[in-house]
């Protein structure tokens, strides 16, 4: 009699467990991936940028999540204008890039959408996206930069990537338009030991800039501009150099961050 009750109790206890005991209670790590590139709509050339928060920002917004959704943590393009994130939960996302080009999402003063060129993508195993944009400026080397007496001397040419009329037609409806938005404000020469040279990775001892007030640069558009680094780079090692230019317009609007258009970096041996 007593034995039977012991059996009943232990049987009841055993039946209280669940199969979950034998499973690892863990969610799979995010395994979906997105790979993308940002290219010039006209030429198909990649939009070169800085690696860091002054470069091209990639923002993902998961649409399948629910009503009150916050963007995923932002990440940024590589210097060559491509980006990749391999730790995303699979789902449908709105993908938006912001950089030194005509904004993809344009709204007027009251928040009414004017144009939306952002992409809605179902991100699965490996999803590729391509953004065709209109860069504000194109900047190119003219000849090879030289290092003389520890100073980099470079010649660059800056041209508009989007015509003044088109810029105006797309930006003006967003409100608060000012003609000085299109002024080129500065040209920078970034020098660094790092191959990811740019604003973030610049070496402040040598990087230099030329600033232009108002529309002073307009006459120099398409012309060869000479820029020289400051300080003296010690000889014996190689440095990476890159030039950048920007206009007086911040992206995304209201952030105050005026992003630069870049040319490709060059490695130079310091004699």
């Amino acid at each position: 009699m007593k034995k039977i009750s012991v059996y009943i109790v232990s049987l009841a206890l055993l039946s209280l467990n669940s199969c979950g005991l034998f499973e690892l209670d863990n969610k799979d790590e995010p395994s979906a991936a997105i790979q993308g590139e940002v290219v010039d709509a006209e030429t198909g050339a990649p939009i070169l940028t800085d690696q860091g928060s002054e470069g091209i920002r990639v923002r993902l917004l998961e649409l399948s999540y629910g009503e009150n959704v916050l963007p995923n943590p932002d990440f940024y393009c590589k210097p060559d204008g491509t980006f990749q994130n391999t730790k995303i939960f699979a789902g449908t996302y709105n993908v938006r890039v912001d950089g030194p080009f005509i904004p993809l999402l344009r709204e007027d003063d009251r928040g009414t959408p004017l144009a939306d060129e952002t992409q809605e993508v179902a991100i699965g195993d490996l999803t590729k996206v391509k953004f065709e944009v209109q860069p504000f400026l194109n900047i190119e080397w003219v000849g090879e930069p030289q290092i003389i007496n520890g100073k980099v001397k470079a010649q660059v040419r800056v041209t508009r990537g989007v015509s003044e009329e088109e810029f105006r037609s797309k930006i003006e409806p967003m409100g608060g338009y000012n003609a000085n938005f299109q002024n080129v404000t500065d040209i920078q020469l970034f020098v660094s030991y790092s191959s990811t040279v740019g604003y973030r990775a610049r070496d402040e001892r040598w990087s230099s800039k030329i600033e232009y007030a108002g529309g002073a640069f307009n006459a120099l558009l398409g012309e060869v501009v000479t820029i020289e680094s400051i300080g003296t780079i010690p000889s014996g090692r190689s440095v990476f150099v890159r030039a950048a230019a920007r206009i007086n317009y911040d992206t995304p609007k209201g952030s105050g961050t005026r992003r630069w258009n870049y040319n490709e970096s060059k490695q130079l041996l310091v004699p």
Binding site: N68, D109, R205, G231, S255
Partner: protein, 686 residues
């Protein structure tokens, strides 16, 4: 027998008591206990006051409102006033604990008082009743003001939200303009209700004049933001994603009118304080043409509780309510457990009068026209260099060789053994060369060496014979190039330190009051609002001569400070405005005011950084794009002559690089608050 027990048991169950147990618990104090008498009200207000967003010895810009005095230092938030060795020395771009949740706790307490106190109106004389109600409005104004200058538009919770059954528990962010209007309305209510003076036993409560003074500060902030947002690329405005409300910045059609309105309110509020004649600049020991007296006067004013200049101070009492400012900021010889937390910069010192200057306005230490030209000017003692320094600066900063607590404060970067005259140690003093330090110089690393420096204190000091006497290379208080606990810049902070020689600093031993609002600031508020109104072409709101008010204010402050007197009068121009701003940078330094001034003037980002110091200075001298650094003034001794010379170089020990971008003018809303609410918007530019 068994039946008897059962019956008994049933009987026991039938014996029940009829006492009503539904009585209020005695350990929960209700409204009728608290809100019906003055001692109950003191308890209620004490809780509100303990949560007020006061920035004093218990506040750190890097950490936010944590009501905690650990590591407290002054002016280290990238304002250029001072630097500190630790990570807490960073530009004011966010606070670890955002002032959000705590603000709503305080606002709820205030709202509850506003809604409930009228039920107990008969318990108090009318003046007292009004005063308590005024305290609630004052607390709410203070909380909304503290939030508005951090976030722009915030949820205007002006009623008690009932949990869990409120019909409308979610409140979205209002526009920035509505938020400032609410701050204005709450201050105005407080001003109309608060009494003019407090009885002695209730020192520390708000008064009408406290509210007026803070109103002028808040409205100056609002007016400046409305106006100077326009000078920033992107106008710093945008609509919230969820609500479409302009939660940040001002509407292009209303900013101008709003800015004028706020400046008018700032001017009127400051003028009312001035005209009341209840306060005056502290001049107890002041004497004309006596620099020593003027200096001592300004040292005393911060700890004198009877000061006529103090409008509002947070008091401490040993041993029940203390802080530890002296334990972290005293010179190294008083280390206990830390030292030298506040090291003023040379850039800050350059705001003040009484120094030799180069043609570009920077402080002159060589015979040439700039730092790397000529030879060093030699001084018999380091204090000779500061002989004519403005007394106000001496009251704020401990100079090398000056006295503090009856001890001479020895600050020396090193000893130079080469021949005199001495050429500048570096050939490049520009920002690009900021990271090259004395210990990398050939004079130090070469053999034989002519420059001696010390990596650390005491037994780690390098010893050099000076006139046959073995002398430690660095001063007793540093700078030591491998120990950030010594002095970092060649200068130490004096403001807020307890000057009493008998006082032994330690954590929890300090009890100096923190002056949160003083008359000098009211004068500066009136002057700045007056000049801004003139610049905007506004007529004087009270008929007074606004520029004369500004001129008188600046002249009086300069006279008390022992600075060069103001020549001529202040004009309604940018030059006049910069003059007022510079005076503010000087007078209110290291009082948790400058970091807000830089924010509201919108001069912290690279494009506008020329006006960082109030006066115009070339930003490229101390910055490179978004980053910037500050300089120290390093005293060296020449072993051949026993004389001193100074080298002006970018911060040598624990060098700090600050970074400020335009997005930082509005702090991000805490992410958790945005994600859990269907209505709270993040800043549109983030």
């Amino acid at each position: 027998m068994n039946r008897l027990y059962i019956l008994l048991l049933i009987g026991v169950f039938c014996v029940s008591a009829c006492t009503d147990l539904d009585i209020p618990p005695k350990n929960v104090i209700g409204d009728e206990t608290l809100l019906t008498n003055e001692s109950g009200m003191k308890v209620y207000l004490a809780r509100m006051y303990s949560r007020m967003p006061f920035e004093d010895f218990k506040y750190m810009g890097e950490w936010g409102m944590e009501y905690n005095g650990w590591l407290n230092a002054s002016g280290i938030e990238g304002t250029g006033e001072a630097v500190n060795r630790d990570g807490i020395c960073r530009a004011f771009t966010s606070e670890r604990t955002a002032y959000w949740k705590d603000a709503f706790v305080l606002i709820r307490d205030a709202n509850y008082l506003i809604e409930t106190l009228p039920e107990y109106k008969e318990s108090f004389p009318e003046v007292t009743y009004n005063h308590y109600l005024g305290e609630a409005y004052y607390a709410r104004a203070t909380a909304f003001y503290a939030m508005a200058r951090r976030f722009g538009g915030v949820p205007l919770v002006t009623r008690v939200i009932k949990y869990p059954n409120d019909e409308n528990p979610e409140i979205a962010r209002s526009t920035e303009e509505e938020t400032w209007d609410q701050v204005l309305a709450d201050f105005d209510m407080a001003i109309s209700l608060l009494r003019s003076t407090n009885p002695d036993t209730e020192r520390g409560y708000a008064t009408k004049y406290v509210a007026l003074a803070f109103k002028s500060e808040a409205m100056l902030y609002a007016g400046s933001v409305a106006k100077y947002n326009e000078t920033v690329p992107g106008r710093l405005t945008g609509l919230g994603l969820k609500t479409g409300v302009r939660v940040m910045g001002f509407d292009p059609t209303t900013w101008d009118a709003a800015s004028r309105r706020y400046f008018r309110e700032a001017y009127l509020a400051a003028q009312e304080v001035i005209k009341s004649n209840r306060f005056s600049l502290y001049k107890k020991k002041w004497a004309a043409n006596d620099k020593e007296a003027q200096y001592q006067n300004m040292v005393d004013m911060f700890s004198d509780l009877s000061s006529t200049e103090t409008i509002y101070a947070r008091e401490y009492t040993y041993p029940i309510s203390t802080h530890a400012y002296d334990a972290y900021n005293s010179p190294y010889i008083f280390k206990s457990p830390l030292a030298s937390g506040t090291c003023p910069t040379l850039d800050f010192v350059e705001l003040f009068d009484g120094f030799p200057r180069y043609p570009d306005g920077t402080i002159k230490v060589t015979t040439g026209d700039r730092n790397n030209e000529g030879t060093y000017v030699m001084y018999d003692s380091p204090m000779d260099f500061f002989e004519n320094a403005e007394p106000r600066l001496r009251a704020y900063v401990i100079f090398p060789g000056d006295m503090f607590k009856n001890r001479e404060i020895e600050l020396r970067a090193g000893i130079y053994t080469g021949s005199t005259p001495i050429s500048p140690l570096f050939n490049d003093y520009s920002y690009a060369n900021a990271e090259r330090h004395y210990q990398q110089l050939n004079q130090y690393t070469g053999v034989p060496k002519s420059l001696y420096l010390s990596p650390r204190e005491l037994t780690d000091q390098e010893i050099v014979p000076v006139n046959g006497v073995p002398t430690a290379a660095a001063g007793e208080n540093g700078p030591f190039y491998n120990n950030g606990e010594g002095c970092l810049t060649g200068l130490l902070g004096r403001k807020w330190l307890n000057p009493d020689p008998a006082f032994v600093p330690a954590e929890g031993k300090s009890a100096q009051p923190y002056v949160l609002m003083r008359y000098a600031e009211v004068l500066l508020n009136a002057a700045e609002a007056g000049v801004e109104l003139s610049l905007a072409g506004e007529p004087s709101p009270d008929g007074s001569d606004m520029l004369q008010v500004a001129t008188d204010a600046i002249a009086a402050i300069r006279e008390r400070a022992g600075a060069n007197p103001l020549l001529g009068s202040i004009t309604g121009s940018e030059a006049g405005r910069n003059l007022v701003r510079k005076e503010r940078r000087k007078e209110l330094a290291m009082e948790h005011k400058a970091k807000w001034d830089l924010r509201r003037w919108r001069v912290n980002h690279y494009e506008a950084r020329d006006l960082f110091w109030g006066e115009a200075r070339d930003k490229d001298m101390f910055s490179n794009n978004s980053r910037y650094k500050f300089r120290g003034l390093y005293p060296f001794m020449s072993s051949q002559t026993g004389q001193y010379f100074f080298d002006a170089h970018f911060q040598w020990v624990s060098q700090k690089t600050f970074e400020y971008n335009i997005v930082d003018y509005y702090f991000a809303i805490p992410g958790g608050e945005v994600s859990k609410s269907p209505l709270i918007d993040q800043q549109p530019n983030r």
